[in-house]
């Protein structure tokens, strides 16, 4: 498949870089570029691709969306479909379709929802901070989602409103993901937990506990997911101290 392909839509010719999209798909979902055909959504119908690389101009109704990838505000969707070949064996093909309705970029200001911020870390491209920040891998994001789920379970187990427990999520320039409990919502005890860039054999997270009104009272170290409750109990003063 060539790097630049074209889709002929009602809005005109639209070009996009299939190489980078396919690389993202391979990285995230282990999809490979063989047997990828092209199509375009136009008002929920599939259009006809102009590119000569298209191997199948008419795409049958897809069975399942495997992944979506947003590039330059257009959504690219990989669809998985099965069809019978001449010898009646099933074969799985992947189709790449482009939703040409322009999408809005993720609003890092208005969206404070932790889950959405974690998921949208995948949108950040290489050197997203203007310096050398790396991209966030699917694996790392999944680990962050595990930690997020654990905090939700914690809130339920402790009878707390999740809005009081919800962390602030921030992408770090060193490639880690910050879970922050600090600022006006936490005037006395504060907590930071970092999801590392590289996966370790025994998953552990860097943490920092600090007491705002006590100079120098800080504790830092590493904790595993099953110790998260301990630091959260400290944060919410449920540890008896």
């Amino acid at each position: 498949m060539t790097s630049n392909s074209f889709i002929n839509t009602k809005q005109g010719e639209f070009s996009f870089d299939t190489k980078s999209i396919n690389e993202s798909a391979e990285q995230f979902y282990n999809l490979y570029s063989q047997n990828i055909t092209l199509g375009a959504y136009q008002n929920n119908s599939l259009g006809i691709p102009k590119s000569s690389t298209a191997t199948e101009p008419n795409i049958s109704k897809p069975l399942k969306t495997v992944t979506k990838h947003v590039q330059e505000f257009y959504t690219f969707e990989y669809l998985k479909k099965r069809r019978l070949n001449k010898s009646q064996d099933t074969r799985t093909d992947f189709a790449l379709v482009v939703d040409t309705r322009k999408q809005e970029p993720f609003d890092w200001k208005k969206t404070t929802n932790a889950y959405q911020r974690i998921v949208h870390l995948a949108d950040l491209e290489d050197k997203w901070d203007g310096y050398n920040a790396p991209i966030f891998s699917k694996e790392q994001i999944n680990v962050a989602l595990d930690v997020y789920s654990k905090t939700r379970t914690y809130a339920i187990d402790r009878g707390l409103n999740f809005s009081k427990v919800e962390p602030f999520i921030a992408p770090c320039s060193d490639g880690s993901i910050l879970f922050e409990w600090a600022g006006k919502r936490f005037p006395s005890r504060q907590l930071e937990v970092y999801i590392p860039k590289e996966r370790e054999a025994e998953q552990s997270f860097e943490y920092l506990k600090s007491v705002e009104d006590s100079e120098g009272e800080e504790e830092e170290g590493k904790l595993s997911l099953n110790k998260l409750y301990h630091v959260l109990d400290w944060l919410f003063k449920l540890d008896g101290r």
């Binding site: 203007g130 310096y131 050398n132 602030f168 921030a170 992408p171 320039s173 910050l178 600090s210």
Partner: protein, 119 residues
């Protein structure tokens, strides 16, 4: 070859922020912006806030925080002037920044240019 400037404790450093690293409702930078082991900054006395902001805007970064070198040195870090193409004021804050250091730097930084409110 650019002359290398010897950074002074009284110098001010400028650091670009991604909107995701900025706590909008509290108007402050988070530790997330101060974690790199080789942290890029601009030395203010070798440029201007406007020039640094213009460089940041070119790559869609639109907030700048300042930080006194004094605070950086207090944590045992080193600041080295390291000019790059198109930016004579570029420097690197060297040293591992884990634990309490990023939080300390964030707490002692000052927002010089806030992200636009319509972003």
């Amino acid at each position: 070859m650019s002359e290398i400037y010897e950074v002074q404790p009284s110098d001010i450093l400028l650091r670009w922020l991604h909107p995701g690293q900025y706590k909008w409702d509290e108007g402050r930078a988070t530790s997330a912006a101060f974690r790199d082991e080789e942290m890029s900054v601009d030395i203010l006395c070798l440029t201007t806030l406007e020039e640094s902001y213009a460089r940041a805007k070119k790559i869609n970064k639109n907030a700048i925080a300042s930080l006194e070198v004094l605070f950086v040195l207090e944590k045992g870090l080193e600041v080295i002037h390291s000019p790059i193409e198109g930016n004579h004021a570029h420097a690197i804050v060297l040293g591992k920044k884990s634990g309490s250091i990023p939080k300390f730097l964030a707490k002692n930084s000052k927002i010089e240019i806030y992200p636009p409110s319509e972003n």
